[in-house]
Symmetry: C2
Subunit: 367 residues, 2 copies
Amino acid sequence: MFGITPSARLRPSPFYEATVADGVTAFTTYNHMLMPTSFGNPEAEYWRLMHGVSQWDVAVERQVELIGPDAGRLAQLLTARDLSRCVAGQGKYVPLCNHEGVLINDPILLKLADDHYWLSIADSNIWFWARAIAAERGLRVVVNEPDVSPLAVQGPKAEDVVASICGDWVRRLKYFWFRETLIEGIPVVVARSGWSKQGGFELYLRDGSAGTRLWNIVKEAGKSWDIGPGNPNFCERVETGLLSYGGDTDDRTNPYEVRLGKYIDLSVDDDVVGVKALRQIHAAGPSRHQLGVVLDGDAPTALGFLWHEIHVGGRKVGSMTNCVWSWRLKKNIGFALIETACQAGDRVTVIKDGTPVGAELTTLPFL
Amino acid sequence: MFGITPSARLRPSPFYEATVADGVTAFTTYNHMLMPTSFGNPEAEYWRLMHGVSQWDVAVERQVELIGPDAGRLAQLLTARDLSRCVAGQGKYVPLCNHEGVLINDPILLKLADDHYWLSIADSNIWFWARAIAAERGLRVVVNEPDVSPLAVQGPKAEDVVASICGDWVRRLKYFWFRETLIEGIPVVVARSGWSKQGGFELYLRDGSAGTRLWNIVKEAGKSWDIGPGNPNFCERVETGLLSYGGDTDDRTNPYEVRLGKYIDLSVDDDVVGVKALRQIHAAGPSRHQLGVVLDGDAPTALGFLWHEIHVGGRKVGSMTNCVWSWRLKKNIGFALIETACQAGDRVTVIKDGTPVGAELTTLPFL
């Protein structure tokens, strides 16, 4: 593993000092910020998420704030998911596409009020994009990056921890719904959300100067449940089929290729960016789809930077977009972005770091 | 220094394997790629750039390709620098602004033909931006990311090295001008360019599969001049006043604040994105400007992730946006983005990692 050189282009999170104090050993970069990727024991961090509770610095999930009389109009123009019945306090997963129907982000939209939205974004620049659309269409809306930084509490015991901090009302929050509140005077939005399938919450810190304090409140409250530091877990997210925008997608991926078709409403207004292209793509059928891949063999693989080519009969038919050792399946698994002619059950060859490895295609999720 | 975790969101460069073979020890991320930042001896790398010749993997300077009948029109809409007299084979430094006149990138534009341009970008997503403007305005232009990856050869002996590879015609290339050619059959664009003030060239590799081969051709040719691996040099770029977009700028920085006013032509068409806002900013005068800062004391400082607050009389008047030990000045130096009332010669206090440090403002560049 190589070192990462400090630079003002890579902003630290409000939780940076707390995670350093708790022993972070590695980072990735995401939205021009550092995100912890390890506290030194990946397997222990995985099992803690599966059976206990883990707290994560996910401040890199930045908010694109839309505020003003046309905020709702802009939100709808940016996604082909119908938002007409979304109410204040509700969140929705909204694929964003460009004019060609290519996926450019897959944020959670939070509707705070009729004139106030956040897009809690994946790793691409949606401030530029939203400002371009708003300005070119003359909308009365300001697009900002507010001082908002999520801290995730994830795992089967997360609800107990967050209820002990905020009260039992959090147990009644529906998935992706949220409420604005205070934690020991610190302004937060509490949402049932998070980038795992093990359940939990995200505490959207609204005062960057209180990062260490909020981190330590959660750490202290979680002691009864043996909480520990963690981060979005590569193994768990692959096992459970969670998409990583920019990792599992390329610059021509459309939502239908990566299992997001159910979040697209083709009946939205023609003005919605990309909807005309999406109608054509839907009518023609996508040329690629996303499946699981299970590699032969049982030696854990190392993580890599590259997509791995997938071959059938010596011909490239797609790519393996991630590859990780599954502690539950005891196999190296990952996602394929592959020609639709290839189906679950098919045998394929993955070119892994120059070496052909036998593999089988499967449905997603794995678990 | 912390480790960086491999991820498909961070694409390796075509020169990645060659730089690993040559002993790279640290990276930064830039345009979702890894860029080498050290080969283990920063001071030796600095003096090699000053007195000899150095080869750099700057593939992270990605190209935003504009191609089609409206490519020239789109190029002009994206920048308030007048391009009407730019000819094929010429490059220009072009600040890009949003509709509010805020700087969003500062690429080198290369005009390959009337219907074919590249923007060799700094660290922000201009593909999304250019596609949004093109699509919203109905232009007949395709915006792509081509397979193009610059390798820089920098330093006073760079011309000898590149001439030994390409021929003496490179000695007659004017600054930012370029020519398309082949190096041992590998397609490249050779430009007199590079992110240092020590002179040199950028070889824009047009075949990503030939990265290791091109790297080694330069390495071999450069042996007579004692070439070695390096990277954009933080010390040299601060000494010579080179701007780092995203490092020295924030989300409200306009070109006039950071010494780029000379690249703005306010007489361009009203349709040019941001020009109306730039006219207002110019008429009112910017509220901040960029100066140098020299810290008191002579102990080399460590690099950091943060901007440092600058205070006068206990009041925050700006920020020190970078801070590095200058091997020539034997001082810690950096840039200030600061109220225009503050001037070169003024004494200020820099809050460096929580500690107040005396400092003096200066003009830029330092050297």
